[in-house]
Amino acid sequence: MNTLFEKFDQISKSPAAQLSAYKAQGKKAIGVLPYYAPEELVYAAGMVPFGMWGSNKKTISRAKEYCATFYCTIAQLAVEMLLDGTMDGLDGVITPTICDTLRPMSQNIRVSMSDKMPVIFLAHPQNRFDLNGLTFTVSQYTNIRKKLEEIAGKPITDDDIRAAIKVYNACHVQQRRFVKLAGEHPDVVTAVRRSAVLKAGWFMLKDEYCAMLKELNDKIEALPACDWPGTKVVVSGIIFDNPILLQIFDDYKIAIVADDVAHESRTFKTDIPDDADPMMALAKQFANRDHDVLLYDPQSSKNRRAEFVAQLVKDSGADGLVLFMQQFCDPEEMEYPYLKKELDAQGIPHIKLGIDQQMRDFGQARTALQAFADVLAVG
């Protein structure tokens, strides 16, 4: 089991090496920015989708030529890594535009990468549920499919997509299983390890990842039940992958029993449904995505997302919720007051910690998390 954890850890820490290894196999790779790009199409084209969620190691420098300071570091660091050559191995990049930062970033990336690689644009619809919305999603995904075919130099058949859908759905099952098992065995699956395992999935072909993850899950499942002496929480936010922050969780025995994190469960909680047309199946998956800070809720007069998160805390047996507020992320910020309201109403303790990927001093976060763990332990 430790060997597997080490493998995941290695992959999550060195996406550049991972990219080089795939390139050495003669494979092409496509960068995929957040959120909800249909990376199944990349897989179906026989290429490697490569998640681009910023970096905890880089410093924003060249991206300043394009971005003012008040943009989330995930987007700024994506631009940084494209400009500084880190991502030169990519054969293309997909730029979704579902938040206000990603809109102009799609333009900055297209302009700055014009000599380097194709930039594939994606605009998701918000009124995504009825045939009208689904048709628009399909049209957007069809554009992506065509661009990917050009890069791959071969057509992507419907059967290729069907096969990719199977792989991705199977992978979702293992990812969700892992999240559950990690919550049941925090003594073995530490917060640091949990994050590494989930993060590695963004830099691997999903069939390979799924096989490795299944092997790990089987091993964890065979472990004796864990009598956890610490506290249990649900984490929420856009991304939560900083090893130093994660180590604080382990230091204070704060177990992550479930998550509402964009980089983690929000991505794989919704399966791709059955449909004779595989493109429509992908569109329906997007339509079915729900309880999300980025997506329009037609029942907006209700407080469904907050109720969903509160229920997640209850169902997972957590003692409270830790919200990592990504700096300058207005979708998260806009949903916070009503999330807070619901958590307070249900008597669920929570803490909100501001983070970004340029964070280098964790003293405040450490103190806050320690205090929160103490409060939960007493409660």
Partner: protein, 460 residues
């Protein structure tokens, strides 16, 4: 050097400007009256297709215009802080924060002494201090003198007296922030939300798939509006509103085009004030007529050499972005000192929705400043820079507006490369005065003036 004319400062408010002010005043007054009569009143994003609501005779107010007005009335900070106290982060758009605080019942009021119920006067200004109150708490008070005085203490200007919403109309062509902003309002008031989603566009042409998707949403919106209003869709009223909106847009563009004259017959800052009309009333005949009247006045100014600019025009610039409403005098001061007139604003093309028929209308609404690709954005701006003969560009990096400010650095490079004009950027905010630094702004304007001067000398 630009042509110098004898400037006669037009101090009095012209009939055209008066008419424009009245139109906006009427929009708010009619909404207040409708509310009194128990009719549904909506809140709408500024680039929601107003023609749809007009087809049902629905009264609609515009939170963006409201927030700009509140900010210009110096209450932006207290309302932004009120939203922050409700747990909305201070990174969120200032308009959204002001609007959400207002929707939650927060109001800026003249400070009352709780004992005497007399105003507490600030000795420096000799006016009452401002305090934050909650209208819901006041409404819940028993009838009587205190309740009356507390209601009367709420600032009387129209934006602080806007009726609460019974439905919301959201179109996210401007930004995605709008979606969650309006969802929050719908949640606070438990009211229906009509959502027209216009996805971001990567090409200058609007693809047919966009038109089909948005047209489909119009049909759905009409069904929702029928339920809200209890009326059937009135084709004739819709067509009238479309005709008015086109006429307003054309008259607005005509007014904006007077800035092409050198020297200009008006201050470009005037357009910032007149924007209220294109935002709140473009589907009204009165708005079209008021702009047409203003156009005749500007025509006269051109003939007589008059201008509303209170100083001789030495330089002409494009002002990029939304103005810092709480700091208009501070924005204007260094421009006046250096003889700089704003002769181009992006709002000119941004609100010039001219169309013929429903499909063209859809395409027009796809062309909001923050929903278009960089090539379209540059093309608009360079077009007005050329036509309006600007010497430089002043770029507002607006903390409130991520989609707008997010590609300005690249645009600045293009303006300089394509037009050979200098650009200067400054940090500010459309509504939160805490994000504007006057000293930095003055320095940047000074730098721009020096660069424009050097450019001019080099050309001579």
């Amino acid at each position: 050097m630009c042509l110098r004319k004898e400037y006669i400062m037009a101090k009095e408010v012209s009939p055209g400007v008066k008419a424009l002010r009245q139109v906006v005043e009427d929009v708010y007054a009619e909404a207040r009256e409708a509310k009194k009569q128990g009719k549904p009143v909506g809140w709408s994003s500024s680039k929601f297709p107003c023609e749809l609501a007009a087809a049902f005779d629905l009264n609609v107010c515009y939170p963006e215009n409201q927030a700009a007005g509140i900010a210009a009335n110096r209450d932006g900070e207290i309302m932004c802080q009120a939203a922050e106290d409700l747990a909305f982060d201070n990174d969120i758009c200032g308009y959204a924060r002001i609007s959400l605080a207002y929707a939650a019942g927060k109001r800026a009021a003249k400070k009352l002494d709780p004992e005497t119920l007399e105003y507490v006067i600030n000795p420096e200004t000799e006016k009452p201090y401002t305090e934050l109150v909650d209208i819901n708490e006041i409404w819940a008070m028993p009838e009587g003198e205190e309740k009356e005085k507390r209601l009367a203490a709420i600032k009387p200007y129209r934006q602080m007296q806007m009726p609460m919403p019974d439905f919301v109309l959201c179109c996210n062509n401007i930004c995605n922030c709008m979606t969650k902003w309006y969802e929050n309002i719908a949640r606070m008031h438990d009211i229906p939300l009509v959502m027209i989603d216009i996805p971001y566009n990567n090409t200058v042409e609007v693809d047919d798939t966009y038109v089909a998707y948005i047209r489909g949403q119009f049909d759905k919106a009409i069904e929702q509006l029928e339920k809200i209003s209890g009326k059937k869709f009135d084709e004739k009223k819709f067509e009238d509103a479309c005709a008015n909106a086109n006429r307003t847009a054309k008259a607005w563009l005509k007014v904006c085009d007077y800035l092409q004259y050198k020297p200009a017959p008006m201050s470009g800052f005037d357009l910032f004030n007149h924007m209220a009309d294109v935002v709140t009333a473009r589907g009204r005949l009165a708005a079209a007529e008021a702009f047409e009247l203003l156009a005749t006045e500007l025509e006269e100014n051109v003939k007589t050499g008059k201008s509303t600019l209170p100083f001789p025009e030495q330089y002409r610039v494009m002002f990029e972005g939304i103005p810092c409403w709480p700091k208009l005098p501070a924005l204007f001061r260094p421009l006046k000192k250096n003889g700089v007139n704003v002769t181009a604003v992006v709002y000119a093309p941004a609100f010039g929705f001219v169309y013929n028929g429903m499909d063209e209308m859809v395409r027009a609404y796809c062309k909001a400043p923050n929903s278009v690709c960089i090539e379209q954005g540059v093309d608009w701006r360079e077009g007005i820079c050329r036509d309006n003969k600007v010497d430089g560009v002043l770029v507002h990096y607006n903390r409130s507006c991520k989609p707008w400010s997010g590609y300005m650095a690249e645009m600045q490079r293009r303006f300089t490369a394509d037009l050979g004009i200098p650009c200067a950027g400054f940090d500010g905010d459309q509504a939160d005065p805490r994000n504007f630094n006057e000293a930095q702004y003055e320095t940047r304007v000074q730098g721009l003036v020096e660069a424009m001067e050097a450019n001019r000398l080099a050309k001579e």
